[in-house]
Subunit: 124 residues, 2 copies
Amino acid sequence: MEEQIDSVGKAFVDHYYHLFDNDRPAMSSLYQPTSMLTFEGQKLQGVEDIITKLTQLPLDQCRHVISTVDSQPASVTGGIVVFVSGSLQLPGENHPLQFSQMFHLSPTPQGNFFVLNDIFRLNY
Amino acid sequence: MEEQIDSVGKAFVDHYYHLFDNDRPAMSSLYQPTSMLTFEGQKLQGVEDIITKLTQLPLDQCRHVISTVDSQPASVTGGIVVFVSGSLQLPGENHPLQFSQMFHLSPTPQGNFFVLNDIFRLNY
């Protein structure tokens, strides 16, 4: 069970940042109307507002490099919390930006997960 | 509702780090048998194991300084996710350690919250 949670967390994280770095509009598949994103303190809710925010970030050709992924079961209802630390490499910048991000993944009736909670902070 | 969530998150964070810095054994009041802590990748579950870990950390006279607290409702069942960034000042050390930590607070039948999920990472 514990290994399964870790596998789901890591697979989600790989998928999330792969889409972010390569096809940000496709990240709409990860969110639902109840999803919340707090990005550097700015609160957004729902697929449209979240994707608008994410696609408008000036992060073209950025690359996320993941340092740690910690996952735990979030409840008896099958949710998972995932905590990520890593760095964000921007083109032409020598110094990557350190960040931390947490996700609360909630199960769908179809057996997948969507992002219910998403909180992102740069680490200064 | 949103302001209430923020207030609960901030009040919890103040309480948590106040206990950590002043009376670590009393943090047992924050956890329950289903609680999980992942501390720098080490997984612990249950009040006793979590408090043993926390009280054995070589952080006497440390002081947590909080930089940001972001909170969101975690589900329709009344949970809250809280994401914290800050620094850890150790006595005799000039350079504070940066950290990030997330909590998933779950409501109790008595109308309080306990820490269901707790994940801590230093930011290198």
